[in-house]
Protein backbone atom coordinates (compact mmCIF):
# COMPACT_ATOMS: atom_id res chain seq x y z
CA UNK A 1 0.00 0.00 0.00
CA UNK A 2 2.95 2.34 0.25
CA UNK A 3 5.06 3.96 -2.36
CA UNK A 4 8.53 2.82 -1.44
CA UNK A 5 10.14 0.44 0.93
CA UNK A 6 11.54 3.39 2.81
CA UNK A 7 7.99 4.04 3.90
CA UNK A 8 7.40 0.35 4.46
CA UNK A 9 10.23 0.20 6.92
CA UNK A 10 8.94 3.24 8.77
CA UNK A 11 5.52 1.65 8.98
CA UNK A 12 6.99 -1.53 10.36
CA UNK A 13 8.92 0.62 12.75
CA UNK A 14 5.71 1.99 14.16
CA UNK A 15 4.43 -1.55 14.62
CA UNK A 16 7.56 -2.93 16.25
CA UNK A 17 7.60 0.04 18.50
CA UNK A 18 4.16 -0.67 19.82
CA UNK A 19 5.31 -4.23 20.55
CA UNK A 20 8.57 -3.45 22.28
CA UNK A 21 7.27 -0.52 24.24
CA UNK A 22 4.90 -2.55 26.35
CA UNK A 23 7.51 -5.10 27.34
CA UNK A 24 10.05 -3.00 29.21
CA UNK A 25 7.31 -0.94 30.78
CA UNK A 26 5.85 -4.06 32.33
CA UNK A 27 9.33 -5.03 33.52
CA UNK A 28 9.95 -1.74 35.28
CA UNK A 29 6.94 -2.28 37.45
CA UNK A 30 9.13 -4.49 39.62
CA UNK A 31 11.39 -1.50 40.30
CA UNK A 32 10.09 0.56 43.22
CA UNK A 33 7.76 3.04 41.57
CA UNK A 34 8.39 6.04 43.78
CA UNK A 35 12.13 6.11 43.20
CA UNK A 36 11.80 5.96 39.44
CA UNK A 37 9.24 8.70 39.31
CA UNK A 38 11.22 10.96 41.57
CA UNK A 39 14.18 10.64 39.28
CA UNK A 40 12.29 11.05 36.01
CA UNK A 41 9.65 13.65 36.73
CA UNK A 42 11.56 16.97 36.75
CA UNK A 43 13.37 16.08 33.51
CA UNK A 44 10.14 15.10 31.86
CA UNK A 45 8.34 18.25 32.96
CA UNK A 46 11.10 20.42 31.55
CA UNK A 47 11.03 18.48 28.28
CA UNK A 48 7.24 18.83 28.09
CA UNK A 49 7.51 22.59 28.61
CA UNK A 50 10.14 22.86 25.86
CA UNK A 51 7.89 20.77 23.61
CA UNK A 52 4.92 23.07 24.20
CA UNK A 53 7.07 26.18 23.67
CA UNK A 54 8.34 24.83 20.33
CA UNK A 55 4.82 23.84 19.28
CA UNK A 56 3.66 27.40 20.01
CA UNK A 57 6.55 28.86 18.00
CA UNK A 58 5.79 26.58 15.05
CA UNK A 59 2.07 27.20 15.02
CA UNK A 60 2.31 30.94 15.68
CA UNK A 61 2.67 32.11 12.04
CA UNK A 62 -0.44 30.15 11.02
CA UNK A 63 -2.31 31.49 14.05
CA UNK A 64 -1.17 35.03 13.28
CA UNK A 65 -2.44 34.72 9.71
CA UNK A 66 -5.90 33.68 10.92
CA UNK A 67 -5.98 36.25 13.70
CA UNK A 68 -4.86 39.15 11.49
CA UNK A 69 -7.32 38.17 8.78
CA UNK A 70 -10.16 38.89 11.21
CA UNK A 71 -8.94 42.29 12.42
CA UNK A 72 -9.53 45.70 10.82
CA UNK A 73 -6.58 47.72 9.56
CA UNK A 74 -6.97 50.29 12.37
CA UNK A 75 -6.18 47.61 14.94
CA UNK A 76 -3.35 46.07 12.93
CA UNK A 77 -1.57 49.40 12.48
CA UNK A 78 -1.73 50.39 16.15
CA UNK A 79 1.54 50.34 18.07
CA UNK A 80 0.52 47.45 20.31
CA UNK A 81 -0.41 44.31 18.37
CA UNK A 82 -3.61 42.59 19.47
CA UNK A 83 -2.75 38.99 20.26
CA UNK A 84 -6.32 37.71 20.22
CA UNK A 85 -8.78 38.70 17.50
CA UNK A 86 -11.33 40.25 19.93
CA UNK A 87 -13.85 42.30 18.04
CA UNK A 88 -12.84 40.66 14.79
CA UNK A 89 -15.09 40.29 11.78
CA UNK A 90 -15.17 38.72 8.35
CA UNK A 91 -14.98 42.15 6.68
CA UNK A 92 -11.54 41.48 5.23
CA UNK A 93 -12.78 38.31 3.56
CA UNK A 94 -15.84 40.15 2.23
CA UNK A 95 -13.59 42.84 0.79
CA UNK A 96 -11.22 40.34 -0.89
CA UNK A 97 -14.04 38.21 -2.30
CA UNK A 98 -15.89 41.22 -3.71
CA UNK A 99 -12.89 42.44 -5.72
CA UNK A 100 -13.30 39.84 -8.47
CA UNK A 101 -9.58 39.27 -8.97
CA UNK A 102 -9.75 36.38 -6.52
CA UNK A 103 -12.35 34.54 -8.56
CA UNK A 104 -10.44 35.19 -11.76
CA UNK A 105 -7.33 33.58 -10.23
CA UNK A 106 -9.41 30.80 -8.69
CA UNK A 107 -10.85 29.96 -12.13
CA UNK A 108 -7.40 29.81 -13.72
CA UNK A 109 -6.02 27.72 -10.86
CA UNK A 110 -8.95 25.30 -11.04
CA UNK A 111 -8.64 24.87 -14.81
CA UNK A 112 -4.88 24.32 -14.70
CA UNK A 113 -4.98 22.02 -11.69
CA UNK A 114 -7.85 19.85 -12.89
CA UNK A 115 -6.34 19.38 -16.36
CA UNK A 116 -2.93 18.61 -14.88
CA UNK A 117 -4.27 16.16 -12.28
CA UNK A 118 -6.52 14.33 -14.75
CA UNK A 119 -3.87 13.72 -17.41
CA UNK A 120 -1.00 13.16 -15.01
CA UNK A 121 -3.03 10.52 -13.16
CA UNK A 122 -4.12 8.81 -16.36
CA UNK A 123 -0.67 8.69 -17.94
CA UNK A 124 1.11 7.85 -14.69
CA UNK A 125 -1.35 5.07 -13.97
CA UNK A 126 -0.71 3.41 -17.34
CA UNK A 127 3.03 3.66 -16.80
CA UNK A 128 2.71 2.35 -13.24
CA UNK A 129 0.83 -0.71 -14.50
CA UNK A 130 3.59 -1.27 -17.07
CA UNK A 131 6.44 -1.22 -14.58
CA UNK A 132 4.71 -3.15 -11.81
CA UNK A 133 2.87 -5.80 -13.87
CA UNK A 134 5.25 -6.46 -16.76
CA UNK A 135 8.84 -7.53 -17.16
CA UNK A 136 10.39 -5.88 -20.19
CA UNK A 137 13.67 -4.69 -21.51
CA UNK A 138 14.50 -1.20 -20.30
CA UNK A 139 12.25 -1.39 -17.24
CA UNK A 140 15.06 -0.69 -14.82
CA UNK A 141 16.44 2.21 -16.87
CA UNK A 142 12.96 3.70 -17.03
CA UNK A 143 12.64 3.56 -13.24
CA UNK A 144 16.06 5.16 -12.80
CA UNK A 145 15.17 7.89 -15.30
CA UNK A 146 11.90 8.61 -13.49
CA UNK A 147 13.68 8.95 -10.14
CA UNK A 148 16.27 11.32 -11.57
CA UNK A 149 13.75 13.43 -13.48
CA UNK A 150 11.76 13.79 -10.30
CA UNK A 151 14.76 15.41 -8.61
CA UNK A 152 15.36 17.98 -11.37
CA UNK A 153 14.60 21.49 -10.14
CA UNK A 154 12.22 23.71 -12.09
CA UNK A 155 14.94 26.36 -11.95
CA UNK A 156 17.17 24.21 -14.15
CA UNK A 157 14.72 24.12 -17.06
CA UNK A 158 12.38 27.08 -16.82
CA UNK A 159 14.29 29.37 -19.16
CA UNK A 160 14.16 26.78 -21.94
CA UNK A 161 10.48 26.08 -21.18
CA UNK A 162 9.79 29.81 -21.31
CA UNK A 163 11.51 30.04 -24.70
CA UNK A 164 9.61 27.00 -25.99
CA UNK A 165 6.24 28.42 -24.90
CA UNK A 166 6.97 31.87 -26.31
CA UNK A 167 7.98 30.52 -29.73
CA UNK A 168 4.86 28.33 -29.91
CA UNK A 169 2.63 31.18 -28.73
CA UNK A 170 1.61 29.29 -25.59
CA UNK A 171 2.78 31.85 -23.04
CA UNK A 172 -0.15 32.99 -20.89
CA UNK A 173 -2.32 30.03 -21.86
CA UNK A 174 -3.89 27.36 -19.72
CA UNK A 175 -2.73 24.68 -22.18
CA UNK A 176 0.90 25.82 -22.02
CA UNK A 177 1.19 25.74 -18.25
CA UNK A 178 -0.89 22.53 -17.99
CA UNK A 179 1.51 20.65 -20.27
CA UNK A 180 4.43 21.62 -18.05
CA UNK A 181 2.52 20.72 -14.88
CA UNK A 182 1.48 17.31 -16.22
CA UNK A 183 5.11 16.49 -16.94
CA UNK A 184 6.28 17.91 -13.61
CA UNK A 185 3.83 15.74 -11.64
CA UNK A 186 4.08 12.53 -13.69
CA UNK A 187 7.39 11.10 -12.36
CA UNK A 188 6.41 11.09 -8.74
CA UNK A 189 2.86 9.99 -9.44
CA UNK A 190 4.22 6.98 -11.38
CA UNK A 191 6.45 6.09 -8.47
CA UNK A 192 3.67 6.44 -5.94
CA UNK A 193 1.05 4.55 -7.99
CA UNK A 194 3.56 1.81 -8.78
CA UNK A 195 3.66 0.94 -5.08
CA UNK A 196 -0.14 0.82 -4.90
CA UNK A 197 -0.48 -1.33 -8.05
CA UNK A 198 2.20 -3.72 -6.82
CA UNK A 199 0.25 -3.95 -3.54
CA UNK A 200 -2.68 -5.63 -5.32
CA UNK A 201 -1.58 -9.22 -6.00
CA UNK A 202 -1.80 -10.27 -9.65
CA UNK A 203 -3.12 -13.64 -8.41
CA UNK A 204 -6.42 -11.97 -7.48
CA UNK A 205 -6.92 -10.89 -11.07
CA UNK A 206 -5.91 -14.32 -12.35
CA UNK A 207 -8.35 -16.14 -10.11
CA UNK A 208 -11.13 -13.83 -11.31
CA UNK A 209 -10.21 -14.81 -14.85
CA UNK A 210 -10.34 -18.48 -13.89
CA UNK A 211 -13.86 -17.80 -12.59
CA UNK A 212 -14.84 -16.50 -16.01
CA UNK A 213 -13.95 -12.80 -16.05
CA UNK A 214 -12.23 -11.32 -19.09
CA UNK A 215 -8.86 -9.75 -18.33
CA UNK A 216 -10.32 -6.25 -18.71
CA UNK A 217 -13.31 -7.24 -16.62
CA UNK A 218 -11.04 -8.61 -13.91
CA UNK A 219 -9.10 -5.38 -13.93
CA UNK A 220 -12.14 -3.14 -13.56
CA UNK A 221 -13.94 -5.37 -11.02
CA UNK A 222 -11.05 -6.49 -8.86
CA UNK A 223 -7.96 -4.33 -9.21
CA UNK A 224 -9.48 -0.89 -9.68
CA UNK A 225 -11.68 -0.91 -6.54
CA UNK A 226 -8.72 -2.11 -4.48
CA UNK A 227 -6.63 0.71 -5.93
CA UNK A 228 -9.16 3.44 -5.13
CA UNK A 229 -7.47 4.68 -1.92
CA UNK A 230 -4.11 4.79 -3.68
CA UNK A 231 -5.58 6.69 -6.60
CA UNK A 232 -7.17 9.22 -4.26
CA UNK A 233 -3.93 9.74 -2.32
CA UNK A 234 -1.89 10.16 -5.50
CA UNK A 235 -4.51 12.47 -6.97
CA UNK A 236 -4.50 14.70 -3.91
CA UNK A 237 -0.73 14.76 -4.00
CA UNK A 238 -0.75 15.81 -7.66
CA UNK A 239 -3.40 18.43 -6.85
CA UNK A 240 -1.29 19.93 -4.05
CA UNK A 241 1.76 20.10 -6.30
CA UNK A 242 -0.03 21.92 -9.11
CA UNK A 243 -2.13 24.14 -6.82
CA UNK A 244 0.89 25.45 -4.87
CA UNK A 245 3.27 25.77 -7.80
CA UNK A 246 4.87 29.20 -8.08
CA UNK A 247 8.10 29.10 -10.10
CA UNK A 248 6.87 27.79 -13.46
CA UNK A 249 3.68 29.84 -13.22
CA UNK A 250 5.74 33.00 -12.66
CA UNK A 251 7.65 32.34 -15.87
CA UNK A 252 4.87 31.07 -18.12
CA UNK A 253 1.96 33.28 -16.98
CA UNK A 254 3.29 36.85 -16.79
CA UNK A 255 0.00 38.45 -17.87
CA UNK A 256 -2.14 39.91 -15.12
CA UNK A 257 -5.42 38.26 -16.12
CA UNK A 258 -3.83 34.81 -16.31
CA UNK A 259 -2.59 34.66 -12.71
CA UNK A 260 -3.02 31.50 -10.70
CA UNK A 261 -3.78 31.85 -6.97
CA UNK A 262 -0.12 31.82 -5.80
CA UNK A 263 0.73 34.56 -8.32
CA UNK A 264 -2.36 36.51 -7.27
CA UNK A 265 -1.28 36.33 -3.62
CA UNK A 266 2.17 37.56 -4.58
CA UNK A 267 0.73 40.74 -6.11
CA UNK A 268 -0.16 41.96 -2.59
CA UNK A 269 3.50 41.66 -1.57
CA UNK A 270 4.62 43.43 -4.73
CA UNK A 271 2.15 46.21 -4.07
CA UNK A 272 3.47 46.68 -0.53
CA UNK A 273 6.59 48.17 -2.10
CA UNK A 274 4.81 51.23 -3.39
CA UNK A 275 1.83 51.81 -1.13
CA UNK A 276 0.52 51.21 2.36
CA UNK A 277 -0.49 47.57 2.78
CA UNK A 278 -3.79 46.51 4.31
CA UNK A 279 -2.36 43.48 6.12
CA UNK A 280 -5.78 42.31 7.25
CA UNK A 281 -6.81 41.83 3.64
CA UNK A 282 -3.48 40.26 2.72
CA UNK A 283 -3.84 37.75 5.55
CA UNK A 284 -7.46 37.03 4.53
CA UNK A 285 -6.14 36.35 1.03
CA UNK A 286 -3.43 34.04 2.41
CA UNK A 287 -6.06 32.22 4.43
CA UNK A 288 -8.21 31.70 1.33
CA UNK A 289 -5.21 30.22 -0.51
CA UNK A 290 -3.94 28.13 2.41
CA UNK A 291 -7.10 26.63 3.92
CA UNK A 292 -8.06 24.19 1.12
CA UNK A 293 -4.45 23.07 0.90
CA UNK A 294 -4.17 22.48 4.65
CA UNK A 295 -7.41 20.47 4.66
CA UNK A 296 -6.36 18.27 1.73
CA UNK A 297 -2.90 17.85 3.19
CA UNK A 298 -4.28 16.64 6.50
CA UNK A 299 -6.51 14.13 4.66
CA UNK A 300 -3.61 12.42 2.89
CA UNK A 301 -1.08 13.11 5.64
CA UNK A 302 -1.11 9.53 6.92
CA UNK A 303 0.04 8.25 3.55
CA UNK A 304 2.33 11.16 2.86
CA UNK A 305 4.22 11.14 6.13
CA UNK A 306 5.03 7.50 5.83
CA UNK A 307 6.89 8.04 2.59
CA UNK A 308 9.22 10.42 0.89
CA UNK A 309 6.21 11.83 -0.92
CA UNK A 310 5.71 13.98 2.05
CA UNK A 311 8.81 15.93 1.42
CA UNK A 312 8.02 16.36 -2.20
CA UNK A 313 5.06 18.54 -1.30
CA UNK A 314 7.53 21.13 -0.13
CA UNK A 315 7.79 24.24 -2.29
Amino acid sequence: MTNSSFSLSTRNAVLTRADTRTVPERDTRTVPKSRRRWRLRPVRTVLSLIGILLAVIWVFPVYWMLSSSLLPNVVLTSTRPRFFPWGGSLDNFREVLSSGSFFRALTISLQVTLIAVFFAMLFAFLAAVAISRFKFKGRKSFILAILFIQMLPAEGLFIAQYKMMSTTGLLNTVIGISVLYIAAVIPFTIWMLRGFVAGVPAELEESAQVDGCTSTGAFFRITLPLLAPGLVASGVYAFLQAWNEFTIALVILPREDMRTLPLWLRTFIQASQTRETDWGQVMASSTLVAIPVIIFFLIVQGRLTSGLVAGAVKG
Binding site: S5, S9, A13, V14, V23, D27, R44, I50, G51, I52, L54, A55, W58, V59, P61, V62, M65, F123, A127, A130, F142, L147, M151, L152, P153, E155, G156, L157, I159, A160, Q161, Y162, K163, L180, I182, I186, I190, N244, T247, V251, L265, I269, S272, Q273, W279, V282, M283, S286, V289, A290, V293, I294, F297, Q301, T305, S306, L308, G311, K314, G315
Partner: protein, 302 residues
Protein backbone atom coordinates in the same frame (compact mmCIF):
# COMPACT_ATOMS: atom_id res chain seq x y z
CA UNK B 1 5.86 -21.55 -39.02
CA UNK B 2 4.14 -20.69 -35.78
CA UNK B 3 0.42 -21.27 -35.51
CA UNK B 4 -1.13 -17.79 -35.94
CA UNK B 5 -2.72 -17.64 -32.48
CA UNK B 6 0.45 -18.36 -30.52
CA UNK B 7 2.32 -15.77 -32.51
CA UNK B 8 -0.26 -13.16 -31.74
CA UNK B 9 -0.10 -13.84 -28.02
CA UNK B 10 3.66 -13.54 -27.77
CA UNK B 11 3.63 -10.34 -29.76
CA UNK B 12 0.94 -8.74 -27.64
CA UNK B 13 2.78 -9.71 -24.47
CA UNK B 14 5.88 -7.93 -25.65
CA UNK B 15 4.23 -4.76 -26.89
CA UNK B 16 1.81 -3.97 -24.06
CA UNK B 17 4.24 -2.48 -21.50
CA UNK B 18 5.80 -0.19 -24.07
CA UNK B 19 2.39 1.00 -25.27
CA UNK B 20 1.45 1.77 -21.66
CA UNK B 21 4.55 3.91 -21.27
CA UNK B 22 3.98 5.95 -24.43
CA UNK B 23 1.74 8.76 -23.05
CA UNK B 24 3.96 9.44 -20.02
CA UNK B 25 7.15 9.34 -22.05
CA UNK B 26 5.72 11.63 -24.75
CA UNK B 27 4.68 14.20 -22.12
CA UNK B 28 8.12 14.11 -20.51
CA UNK B 29 9.83 14.48 -23.88
CA UNK B 30 7.71 17.49 -24.85
CA UNK B 31 7.88 19.34 -21.55
CA UNK B 32 11.39 18.41 -20.40
CA UNK B 33 13.29 16.56 -23.11
CA UNK B 34 12.95 19.21 -25.79
CA UNK B 35 13.75 22.15 -23.45
CA UNK B 36 16.76 20.25 -22.14
CA UNK B 37 18.16 19.71 -25.63
CA UNK B 38 17.38 23.30 -26.62
CA UNK B 39 19.18 24.45 -23.49
CA UNK B 40 22.27 22.37 -24.27
CA UNK B 41 22.26 23.86 -27.76
CA UNK B 42 21.61 27.42 -26.58
CA UNK B 43 24.40 27.22 -24.03
CA UNK B 44 26.90 26.84 -26.90
CA UNK B 45 25.42 29.68 -28.97
CA UNK B 46 25.73 33.42 -28.94
CA UNK B 47 22.52 35.47 -28.82
CA UNK B 48 23.78 38.99 -29.39
CA UNK B 49 22.41 42.20 -30.79
CA UNK B 50 22.57 40.85 -34.38
CA UNK B 51 20.39 37.89 -33.35
CA UNK B 52 17.71 40.21 -32.04
CA UNK B 53 17.43 41.54 -35.58
CA UNK B 54 16.93 38.09 -37.03
CA UNK B 55 20.43 36.78 -37.67
CA UNK B 56 20.88 33.09 -36.77
CA UNK B 57 22.74 32.49 -33.50
CA UNK B 58 26.44 31.90 -33.75
CA UNK B 59 28.18 28.75 -32.44
CA UNK B 60 30.72 29.64 -29.77
CA UNK B 61 31.50 26.28 -28.15
CA UNK B 62 32.12 26.46 -24.42
CA UNK B 63 32.64 30.22 -24.47
CA UNK B 64 29.44 30.87 -22.48
CA UNK B 65 30.50 28.50 -19.72
CA UNK B 66 33.95 30.10 -19.61
CA UNK B 67 32.42 33.56 -19.59
CA UNK B 68 30.00 32.57 -16.82
CA UNK B 69 32.67 31.10 -14.57
CA UNK B 70 35.26 33.82 -15.05
CA UNK B 71 32.67 36.37 -14.05
CA UNK B 72 32.89 37.43 -10.39
CA UNK B 73 29.11 38.03 -10.26
CA UNK B 74 28.48 34.37 -11.09
CA UNK B 75 30.97 33.25 -8.47
CA UNK B 76 29.29 35.47 -5.92
CA UNK B 77 25.92 33.89 -6.74
CA UNK B 78 27.31 30.34 -6.67
CA UNK B 79 29.11 30.80 -3.38
CA UNK B 80 26.14 32.54 -1.73
CA UNK B 81 23.88 29.71 -2.95
CA UNK B 82 26.17 27.00 -1.58
CA UNK B 83 26.56 28.73 1.80
CA UNK B 84 22.82 29.37 2.02
CA UNK B 85 22.11 25.74 1.09
CA UNK B 86 24.51 24.27 3.63
CA UNK B 87 23.48 26.57 6.49
CA UNK B 88 19.81 25.83 5.85
CA UNK B 89 20.27 22.09 5.45
CA UNK B 90 22.38 21.83 8.62
CA UNK B 91 20.02 23.97 10.70
CA UNK B 92 16.99 22.05 9.43
CA UNK B 93 18.62 18.70 10.23
CA UNK B 94 19.78 19.74 13.72
CA UNK B 95 16.41 21.22 14.72
CA UNK B 96 14.50 18.38 13.06
CA UNK B 97 16.48 15.66 14.84
CA UNK B 98 16.17 17.58 18.11
CA UNK B 99 12.41 17.84 17.73
CA UNK B 100 12.15 14.13 16.85
CA UNK B 101 14.11 13.25 19.99
CA UNK B 102 11.88 15.51 22.01
CA UNK B 103 8.71 13.97 20.54
CA UNK B 104 10.10 10.58 21.50
CA UNK B 105 10.80 11.68 25.07
CA UNK B 106 7.57 13.46 26.03
CA UNK B 107 4.16 11.99 26.84
CA UNK B 108 1.40 11.23 24.38
CA UNK B 109 -0.55 14.48 24.74
CA UNK B 110 2.42 16.80 24.38
CA UNK B 111 3.58 14.76 21.40
CA UNK B 112 0.21 15.16 19.72
CA UNK B 113 0.28 18.92 20.30
CA UNK B 114 3.74 19.10 18.75
CA UNK B 115 2.71 16.97 15.80
CA UNK B 116 -0.34 19.12 15.04
CA UNK B 117 1.77 22.31 15.18
CA UNK B 118 4.39 20.83 12.85
CA UNK B 119 1.75 19.52 10.44
CA UNK B 120 0.14 22.95 10.13
CA UNK B 121 3.48 24.55 9.28
CA UNK B 122 4.19 21.76 6.81
CA UNK B 123 0.82 22.05 5.07
CA UNK B 124 0.97 25.82 4.55
CA UNK B 125 1.58 26.60 0.85
CA UNK B 126 4.93 28.24 0.27
CA UNK B 127 3.56 31.51 -1.13
CA UNK B 128 1.20 31.89 1.84
CA UNK B 129 4.06 31.06 4.22
CA UNK B 130 6.34 33.72 2.76
CA UNK B 131 3.49 36.24 2.87
CA UNK B 132 2.84 35.52 6.54
CA UNK B 133 6.51 35.81 7.47
CA UNK B 134 6.84 39.13 5.60
CA UNK B 135 3.99 40.42 7.75
CA UNK B 136 5.60 39.03 10.92
CA UNK B 137 8.89 40.78 10.02
CA UNK B 138 7.25 44.01 8.80
CA UNK B 139 9.50 46.87 9.84
CA UNK B 140 6.74 49.11 11.19
CA UNK B 141 3.97 46.90 12.52
CA UNK B 142 5.56 43.46 12.56
CA UNK B 143 4.98 41.46 15.71
CA UNK B 144 8.60 40.25 15.76
CA UNK B 145 10.02 43.75 16.16
CA UNK B 146 7.42 44.38 18.86
CA UNK B 147 8.36 41.24 20.78
CA UNK B 148 12.12 41.89 20.48
CA UNK B 149 11.53 45.40 21.81
CA UNK B 150 9.57 43.94 24.68
CA UNK B 151 12.58 41.75 25.49
CA UNK B 152 14.67 44.89 25.85
CA UNK B 153 16.43 45.01 22.48
CA UNK B 154 16.17 48.08 20.31
CA UNK B 155 14.29 46.95 17.24
CA UNK B 156 12.00 49.95 16.72
CA UNK B 157 11.40 50.12 12.96
CA UNK B 158 14.24 47.69 12.30
CA UNK B 159 14.18 46.94 8.58
CA UNK B 160 15.01 43.23 8.31
CA UNK B 161 14.95 43.13 4.53
CA UNK B 162 17.13 46.22 4.11
CA UNK B 163 20.38 44.28 3.87
CA UNK B 164 21.44 41.13 2.07
CA UNK B 165 22.27 39.39 5.31
CA UNK B 166 18.89 40.30 6.79
CA UNK B 167 17.10 38.99 3.70
CA UNK B 168 18.99 35.70 3.92
CA UNK B 169 18.25 35.48 7.63
CA UNK B 170 14.50 35.87 7.04
CA UNK B 171 14.67 33.41 4.11
CA UNK B 172 16.53 30.93 6.35
CA UNK B 173 13.88 31.22 9.05
CA UNK B 174 11.12 30.60 6.48
CA UNK B 175 12.92 27.63 4.90
CA UNK B 176 13.75 26.04 8.25
CA UNK B 177 10.22 26.59 9.56
CA UNK B 178 8.78 24.86 6.49
CA UNK B 179 11.31 22.02 6.22
CA UNK B 180 11.77 20.96 9.83
CA UNK B 181 8.43 19.10 10.05
CA UNK B 182 9.40 16.64 7.29
CA UNK B 183 12.75 15.93 8.96
CA UNK B 184 11.19 15.66 12.42
CA UNK B 185 8.50 13.22 11.28
CA UNK B 186 10.91 11.05 9.27
CA UNK B 187 13.50 10.87 12.04
CA UNK B 188 10.80 10.27 14.64
CA UNK B 189 9.62 7.27 12.60
CA UNK B 190 13.24 6.07 12.57
CA UNK B 191 13.64 6.59 16.31
CA UNK B 192 10.67 4.37 17.05
CA UNK B 193 12.72 1.55 15.54
CA UNK B 194 15.20 1.78 18.43
CA UNK B 195 14.06 -0.91 20.82
CA UNK B 196 13.32 0.05 24.38
CA UNK B 197 15.01 -3.11 25.64
CA UNK B 198 18.36 -2.21 24.11
CA UNK B 199 18.19 1.26 25.61
CA UNK B 200 17.30 -0.16 29.02
CA UNK B 201 20.21 -2.61 28.81
CA UNK B 202 22.62 0.17 27.85
CA UNK B 203 21.30 2.23 30.73
CA UNK B 204 21.92 -0.61 33.19
CA UNK B 205 25.44 -1.04 31.79
CA UNK B 206 26.11 2.55 32.74
CA UNK B 207 25.89 4.30 29.38
CA UNK B 208 24.93 7.96 29.81
CA UNK B 209 22.45 9.82 27.65
CA UNK B 210 25.15 11.12 25.27
CA UNK B 211 26.73 7.68 24.94
CA UNK B 212 23.38 6.06 24.29
CA UNK B 213 22.68 8.62 21.57
CA UNK B 214 26.01 8.24 19.75
CA UNK B 215 26.43 4.48 20.20
CA UNK B 216 22.87 3.20 19.71
CA UNK B 217 20.44 5.76 18.35
CA UNK B 218 22.70 7.41 15.78
CA UNK B 219 23.79 4.21 13.97
CA UNK B 220 20.19 2.99 13.89
CA UNK B 221 18.73 6.15 12.34
CA UNK B 222 21.69 6.72 10.03
CA UNK B 223 19.94 5.57 6.82
CA UNK B 224 17.01 7.93 7.45
CA UNK B 225 19.39 10.79 8.30
CA UNK B 226 21.36 10.24 5.11
CA UNK B 227 18.32 10.28 2.82
CA UNK B 228 16.60 13.19 4.52
CA UNK B 229 19.84 15.19 4.69
CA UNK B 230 20.53 14.63 1.01
CA UNK B 231 17.01 15.76 0.10
CA UNK B 232 17.41 18.91 2.21
CA UNK B 233 20.63 19.79 0.38
CA UNK B 234 19.01 19.25 -3.02
CA UNK B 235 15.94 21.30 -2.08
CA UNK B 236 17.82 24.13 -0.41
CA UNK B 237 20.11 24.53 -3.40
CA UNK B 238 17.12 25.31 -5.62
CA UNK B 239 15.43 27.75 -3.25
CA UNK B 240 13.53 30.25 -5.39
CA UNK B 241 10.11 31.33 -4.16
CA UNK B 242 11.30 32.60 -0.79
CA UNK B 243 14.13 34.70 -2.23
CA UNK B 244 12.06 35.99 -5.14
CA UNK B 245 9.19 37.12 -2.91
CA UNK B 246 11.45 38.71 -0.31
CA UNK B 247 13.10 40.62 -3.15
CA UNK B 248 9.62 41.87 -4.07
CA UNK B 249 9.40 43.71 -0.76
CA UNK B 250 12.75 45.39 -0.92
CA UNK B 251 14.45 47.16 -3.80
CA UNK B 252 16.64 44.33 -5.10
CA UNK B 253 20.17 44.49 -3.78
CA UNK B 254 22.75 42.01 -4.92
CA UNK B 255 20.83 39.23 -3.22
CA UNK B 256 20.32 36.75 -6.06
CA UNK B 257 20.87 33.05 -5.50
CA UNK B 258 21.21 30.60 -8.40
CA UNK B 259 17.49 30.27 -9.20
CA UNK B 260 16.64 33.97 -9.09
CA UNK B 261 19.85 34.84 -10.96
CA UNK B 262 19.00 32.53 -13.86
CA UNK B 263 15.46 33.96 -13.88
CA UNK B 264 16.82 37.51 -14.05
CA UNK B 265 19.26 36.61 -16.85
CA UNK B 266 16.79 34.66 -18.96
CA UNK B 267 13.36 36.22 -18.46
CA UNK B 268 14.62 39.64 -17.33
CA UNK B 269 17.40 40.46 -19.78
CA UNK B 270 16.90 37.80 -22.46
CA UNK B 271 20.47 36.52 -22.13
CA UNK B 272 19.55 32.97 -23.07
CA UNK B 273 23.05 31.64 -23.66
CA UNK B 274 24.32 32.60 -20.20
CA UNK B 275 21.05 31.54 -18.53
CA UNK B 276 21.21 28.17 -20.33
CA UNK B 277 24.81 27.58 -19.32
CA UNK B 278 23.95 28.24 -15.68
CA UNK B 279 20.81 26.08 -15.89
CA UNK B 280 22.93 23.20 -17.14
CA UNK B 281 25.25 23.81 -14.18
CA UNK B 282 22.26 23.66 -11.76
CA UNK B 283 21.08 20.40 -13.36
CA UNK B 284 24.55 18.81 -13.16
CA UNK B 285 24.97 19.72 -9.48
CA UNK B 286 21.49 18.39 -8.69
CA UNK B 287 22.15 15.11 -10.49
CA UNK B 288 25.48 14.72 -8.70
CA UNK B 289 23.73 15.10 -5.34
CA UNK B 290 20.80 12.88 -6.42
CA UNK B 291 22.90 9.85 -7.34
CA UNK B 292 23.26 8.73 -3.73
CA UNK B 293 19.56 9.23 -3.06
CA UNK B 294 18.35 7.44 -6.18
CA UNK B 295 20.67 4.47 -5.67
CA UNK B 296 19.50 4.16 -2.06
CA UNK B 297 15.84 4.16 -3.16
CA UNK B 298 16.48 1.57 -5.88
CA UNK B 299 18.43 -0.60 -3.45
CA UNK B 300 15.70 -0.52 -0.83
CA UNK B 301 13.12 -1.14 -3.52
CA UNK B 302 14.56 -4.40 -4.83
Amino acid sequence: MFPPQARQVTRRFKKTPYLLLVPAVVMLLIAMGYPLIWQLWASTMKFGLAQQFGAPPEFVGLANYIAAFTNPTTWGVVIRSLVFCLVNAILTMLIGVGLAQLMNAVGKTIRLVMQIALLLAWATPVVAAVTIWIWLFDWRRGVINYLLNGLGFDFVNHNWLGTNLGLYLVATIIVVWMSVPFVAFSVFAGLTQVSGEVMEAANLDGAGAVRRFTAIILPMIKPVLMIVGLLQIIWDLRVFTQIRMLQDVQMPLDSDLLGTYVYRLGVGSGDFSMASALSIFILLVTIAFSIGYVLQIVKEDS
